[in-house]
């Protein structure tokens, strides 16, 4: 069942219709095989990203004059949700890509915008976001990757971890230390693919979300021109954190879509499977489980749309973004787990997609800030305002 949506404009509704058409024809039918192949090797949904890019769906939240779609987050995120309902890895990729463009769009100089952003938003390029390190995850300010001044540029040295699209991306939005240890010593760079001294480790062997290739990115004297430093030296942490507020909303939306798909499969199955002479959906114990799943999906959608509307109105939305990420990804975990339960033994097999959804849901509670970090963000802001 497609989710009921109240879109703010006619073109936004057309955009949702277009997204659903592309999802139905190009993403949903390919997701199962795409994930299976990616788990075995190097298959990557490059073609899916190109299709979305050509349709203009990879750059929706950026201004039209910069080559984007000029859409509010309220609309962009609902597109991400639809994609997440069709193929989670691709939705995460769309969200990550949007995140990688954010520093240039928000903090870049006019020259950087005209030189770099057109390509980033063209739909032909894919970005990677190099922030985390093996020893700097939630405590990201403890990063040690260094950017040492070298003539009119910098030499990067260090290892970034958990990098989506590594090896497939066209540019790498990278955070590295130009100054002292601590949050004020970090700067932001855009490193083009093919830069000498930038290599990739083997892809991580993950529980799910296989088509979202994740690898370490190793910088060993990789040279990046000073013209590709985004913002002033030392501005890196504020840039990274403000990008993350928006990135969290992308993950919340994708997780909502994943939960919706799991609910759809479970509800349909419950009306077909018969036990004790009737459909299992007619047993109230099971119907109530489905009702709780529906309530979880609907509340997840409501929280991310609320945060998006605050952002679109130019109001502070950091706390609400954290709430949305927490609620939506916990909902995805609960709903996908319950979907496996509704399908019983069948749900535990690969004949149905819900076991995959359950594996994919787990990581949404971890990446883009663990849900423990979200609680930290929420509680700090809550108490600060007292």
């Amino acid at each position: 069942m497609p989710a009921t949506r109240l879109m703010p404009t006619e073109e936004a509704q057309d955009l949702i219709d277009l997204t659903r058409e592309i999802c139905d024809k190009q993403l949903r039918p390919k997701a199962d095989d795409g994930e299976r192949l990616a788990a075995q090797g190097e298959a990557h949904p490059t073609e899916a990203f190109r299709t979305l890019g050509r349709a203009g769906l990879m750059s929706l939240p950026y201004p039209e004059e910069l080559g984007g779609g000029g859409q509010p987050y309220e609309v962009y995120l609902q597109v991400v949700e639809e994609i997440g309902a069709a193929w989670m890895s691709v939705a995460v990729g769309v969200s990550v890509h949007s995140l990688t463009c954010y520093p240039v769009a928000q903090f870049g100089s006019d020259e950087q915008k005209s030189e770099l952003l057109e390509g980033m938003l063209s739909g032909e390029q894919l970005g990677a976001y190099c922030l985390s390190e093996p020893l700097a995850g939630s405590d990201v300010a403890s990063m040690t990757t260094k950017a040492t001044a070298d003539g009119d540029g910098y030499l990067l040295k260090g290892t970034k971890a958990w990098i989506s699209h590594a090896g497939h991306a066209d540019f790498y939005t990278t955070f590295a230390r130009t100054g002292d240890s601590g949050p004020r010593g970090v700067s932001c760079f855009t490193v083009p693919a093919g830069t000498e001294g930038m290599t990739f480790a083997e892809p991580e062997r993950k529980m799910g979300l296989h088509a979202d290739t994740v690898r370490q990115v190793i910088f060993d004297g990789a040279r990046v021109d000073a013209s590709r430093r985004i913002g002033e030296e030392g501005m890196g942490m504020p840039i990274a954190l403000s990008a993350l507020d928006s990135g969290r909303l992308g993950i919340a939306a994708a997780a909502t879509g994943l939960a919706q798909s799991a609910l759809d499969v479970a509800a349909r199955y419950a009306t077909e499977r018969e036990q004790f002479g009737k459909r299992i959906s007619e047993f109230q114990g099971l119907a109530f489980l489905l009702a709780d799943m529906e309530a979880a999906v609907t509340s997840a959608r409501a929280t991310y749309i609320h945060a998006a509307r605050l952002k679109d109105a130019g109001r502070p939305f950091s706390k609400e973004a954290a709430v949305a990420k927490l609620i939506a990804t916990d909902a995805a975990m609960k709903v996908t787990t319950d979907a496996v339960q509704v399908l019983g033994g069948a749900g535990y097999t690969q004949d149905f997609p819900v076991e995959r959804y359950m594996r994919e849901a787990k990581v949404t509670q971890i990446f883009e800030g663990t849900n423990q970090i979200q609680r930290l963000v929420i509680s700090r802001q809550l108490l600060k305002s007292l």
Binding site: L15, A55, G56
Partner: protein, 260 residues
């Protein structure tokens, strides 16, 4: 080169399609509709021809108010303008009546170099409107094209049959209907969606075309649906237990159906 593409708004094949009980015409009110997928190939082919040269693509549709969605989709894909003929009196028209309305509309649009149609509508699936339309317009008709090229004042098409592929040439102006093998229709882009909002869509009635209501509609159509029955649900297959003679039973079954 100016191209007119005929498109149809059809009930979504994904939903539960039905007929009106009262007059046994296709129910277009209670079912979601869309641009017939087979017409997307004609739109795509027109866009490719114009993009490779010059001219403009006009889409034309005959249908109720909601049929505006079909022309909107074609405009979002990239067509330049659209004409929507909507008139209560057209309701229930069969293929000859529809082709009359389309022919008068195309005459009013101007004299296109090329008229493109899809293979068939995905609801009526009669596949006769292109031929009837060509006849009414006095144009050469080359149908079921799986490949199309324009060279000078002529079109060349490939028509694939069961045993041979024919290459056929016709002089412009002419009418060509295309199959689903001819290209891969593009998706609209978001920019296309935004641009479509500013593209001209004219809505015409029969009076605008000078067509008399007595020539079209259910009462004046040559053909009529008398009754309809829903296709019965598929019956459960026969299960044969293999008791050592499974092979011969399978052969018997296939022979009884003349498969072997």
């Amino acid at each position: 080169m100016n191209i007119v593409v005929c498109v149809k708004y059809v009930p979504d094949a994904q939903s539960d399609r039905t007929f009106n009980d009262s007059d046994k015409t296709t129910d277009r009110e209670s079912v979601d509709g869309l641009l017939s997928e087979l017409d997307e190939y004609a739109v795509e082919e027109a866009l490719k021809l114009v993009e490779a040269g010059e001219g403009e693509v006009t889409v034309v549709t005959v249908g109720p108010d909601q049929a505006a969605d079909a022309v909107k989709k074609a405009l979002q894909m990239g067509a330049d303008k659209a004409v929507h003929i909507s008139d209560e009196a057209i309701h229930g028209s069969d293929a000859p009546a529809t082709s009359l309305v389309l022919a008068e509309a195309i005459k009013k649009i101007g004299s296109p170099d090329l008229v493109l149609c899809g293979l068939a509508s995905t609801d009526g699936t009669m596949s006769v409107v292109p031929a009837m339309l060509a006849e009414r317009l006095g144009l050469p008709q080359v149908t079921q094209a799986s490949e199309l090229s324009v060279e000078g004042d002529a079109v060349k098409i490939r028509r694939d049959g069961d045993v041979a592929s024919e290459t056929i040439e016709a002089s412009l102006p002419c009418l060509v209907s295309v199959t689903d093998q001819i290209n891969e229709p593009r998706y609209p882009s978001f920019k296309g969606i935004m641009a479509a909002k500013k593209k001209p869509v004219e809505t015409w009635t029969l009076a605008d075309l000078g067509v008399d209501a007595g020539q079209v509609g259910l009462d004046n159509s040559w053909t009529k649906v008398l009754e309809f029955t829903k296709r019965p649900p598929r019956e459960q297959g026969e299960i044969v237990k293999d008791e050592g003679d499974g092979g011969s039973k399978l052969a018997e079954f296939l022979a009884s159906r003349k498969f072997i």
